[in-house]
């Protein structure tokens, strides 16, 4: 159905969703920030949290993006095998991003590499980034939309360890990234860790980890245990809001994993800032839309 009316309305709805995501944080992030903010008792930490909450109120009231860095837009799609729009979604996403760039408005965040020119509409080679997963039992599709800001993208890192390093090496890698670079990435952070076989698989899993709702646990008991241990360990560092020290450091630590080659143990780290702008929308078989991450959101 090239250029059909339903496709047009999907473009418009996705554009509205992108625009909305920049202005209101998802429910789980808001709840986490509220909880963490209440723990702080130093004047500096309190001043920072006050600014954060005031900023969110003003963003909603004035209908503006709460952070100026509206990121590179990334789509992580889980689609059932009968999803009718496989071949059309790239065009739909690109069009929605272009539209949101004007209507939100979004900052111009796509610089064409090598040409080193800002395209001015947030699209470019392979951008917006689209990642597909085919889920056999799913009807329709679920789409995670993520605004990957520069500040929280910068600490991203992945490395293939030798198995002799053990899971101790994974922990050390994560702590090193967070204490070296995470403190500049607008804490409290959501930390995603990929434990996997190769550098690219660990990296993509670490990004999927920060798309999970805060506080959900990896189904593997040991992975879940490690999430809790690292969460506590990082919070005990007392990084505080914006790195000014305080009662906590992170909104959470999430791990996603795959099996690995016997000779490798790969680790990836992705970081989400406190203004973690991600949202999930369910696209029914009839192309009906439902926002799953923001209570009361009407798109």
């Amino acid at each position: 159905m090239p250029g059909s009316e339903s496709e047009r309305s999907l473009v418009e709805a996705m554009s509205r969703f992108i625009s909305f995501l920049g202005k209101r944080l998802p429910d789980d992030v808001l709840a986490s920030l509220k909880r963490l903010g209440e723990k702080e008792d130093t004047p500096l930490a309190k001043t920072v949290y006050d600014s954060m909450f005031r900023n969110l109120e003003m963003a909603e009231k004035l209908d503006r993006p709460c952070c100026q860095d509206t990121g590179v837009i990334q789509f992580f799609v889980r689609a059932g095998p009968d999803f009718p729009l496989f071949g059309r979604m790239e065009k739909i996403f690109n069009e929605a991003v272009r539209m949101a760039t004007h209507s939100a408005p979004l900052r111009h965040n796509a610089v064409e590499t090598f040409d080193e020119k800002n395209t001015g509409d947030n699209t470019g080679t392979r951008i917006p980034w689209i990642h597909w997963d085919i889920v056999p039992e799913l009807k329709g599709a679920e789409i995670d939309v993520y605004m990957a800001g520069g500040g929280c993208t910068l600490p991203g890192a992945a490395k293939v360890l030798m198995p002799a390093a053990g899971y101790e090496g994974v922990v050390e890698f994560v702590f090193d990234v967070i204490t070296s670079y995470g403190i500049n990435a607008c804490p409290p952070l959501l930390v995603g860790v990929g434990v996997s076989t190769a550098v690219e698989t660990a990296a993509i899993l670490s990004k999927k980890a920060i798309l999970r709702p805060i506080g959900t646990r990896n189904p593997n008991p040991r992975a879940a245990e490690m999430e809790i241990l690292m969460e506590k360990g990082l919070n005990d560092l007392g990084i505080g809001p914006q790195g000014f020290t305080g009662a906590a450091s992170v909104m959470g630590v999430h791990i996603e994993s795959s099996a690995r080659h016997p000779s490798t143990l790969a680790v990836g780290v992705s970081v989400g800032c406190w203004a973690h702008r991600r949202g999930t929308i369910r696209l029914g078989e009839d192309l009906s839309l439902k926002v799953l991450t923001h209570r009361g959101a009407v798109i």
């Binding site: 500096l44 001043t47 920072v48 600014s51 954060m52 005031r54 900023n55 003003m58 963003a59 004035l62 503006r64 993006p65 709460c66 952070c67 100026q68 860095d69 408005p105 979004l106 900052r107 111009h108 965040n109 610089v111 020119k117 800002n118 001015g120 520069g150 500040g151 910068l154 198995p163 053990g166 899971y167 101790e168 994974v170 922990v171 050390e172 702590f175 090193d176 204490t179 070296s180 403190i183 500049n184 990435a185 607008c186 040991r222 245990e225 241990l229 690292m230 360990g233 990082l234 005990d236 560092l237 007392g238 990084i239 809001p241 914006q242 790195g243 000014f244 020290t245 800032c273 406190w274």
Partner: protein, 201 residues
């Protein structure tokens, strides 16, 4: 009571300030980030704005046309550490007195702040609407060919802040100090976790 700095800033205005102090700014604030720093320091291009005694903001805003003028929609700080390779020389060449951004900066910037009497301060990251509403007017824009984030947006601000001093004119560096504390705590914290994650047996 709010402690307010006004541009042009003189050495004696900022010399009493220490890391962790909170101030606000009245006057001229110019956005200035990666490419502008590179152009001045690496390519020796003259900045189209006189920054002597002024304040820069490591930031790339969202702006909108408003008739003949520009309207500031959203403008929070960007990661200051990206400008670390250039900032010491930047301070020397421009005479800038206040650098606003987010996160810490390194040893070279501390050295520049000490030698030439300047400050680095943090505006809380992600608080871009708060910051935009403290900008009274965009007076002009330079180097627009660099695109919206990298252009130099010359802004007039009123009670712009909170600005938390992270490097003072003695070269003291709040984030370097904090980082040392975090690294020390990290060693102890990791030892405990290591005992519990020996899954390869």
């Amino acid at each position: 009571m709010k402690r307010i700095l006004r541009t042009p800033i003189r050495n004696q205005d900022i010399e009493p300030l220490r890391i962790g102090d909170i101030v606000y700014l009245d006057g001229t604030l110019v956005t200035c980030r990666d490419v502008a720093h590179r152009r001045l320091i690496e390519y020796g291009m003259d900045l189209p704005v006189d920054l002597s005694g002024m304040a820069i903001f490591h930031a790339g805003p969202i702006v909108m046309r408003d008739g003949e003028r520009w309207k500031m929609v959203s403008v929070g700080p960007t990661t200051s550490m990206r400008m670390e390779p250039f900032e010491r020389d930047f301070i020397e060449k421009t005479g800038v007195k206040l650098i606003v951004g987010k996160g810490g900066m390194g040893k070279q910037t501390s050295e520049g702040c000490r030698r030439h009497k300047a400050l680095h301060a943090v505006f809380p990251g992600g608080c871009a609407v708060l910051a935009a509403t403290q900008i009274e007017e965009i007076e002009r824009v330079e180097w627009q060919e660099l695109g919206m984030p990298e252009s130099l947006w010359v802004c007039r601000v009123r009670e712009f802040g909170p600005l938390i001093i992270s490097i003072d004119t003695t070269g003291d560096n709040l984030f370097e100090k904090n980082r040392a504390v975090f690294k020390k705590r990290m060693q102890r914290g990791m030892e405990e976790i290591f005992q519990k994650v020996r899954y390869i047996r």
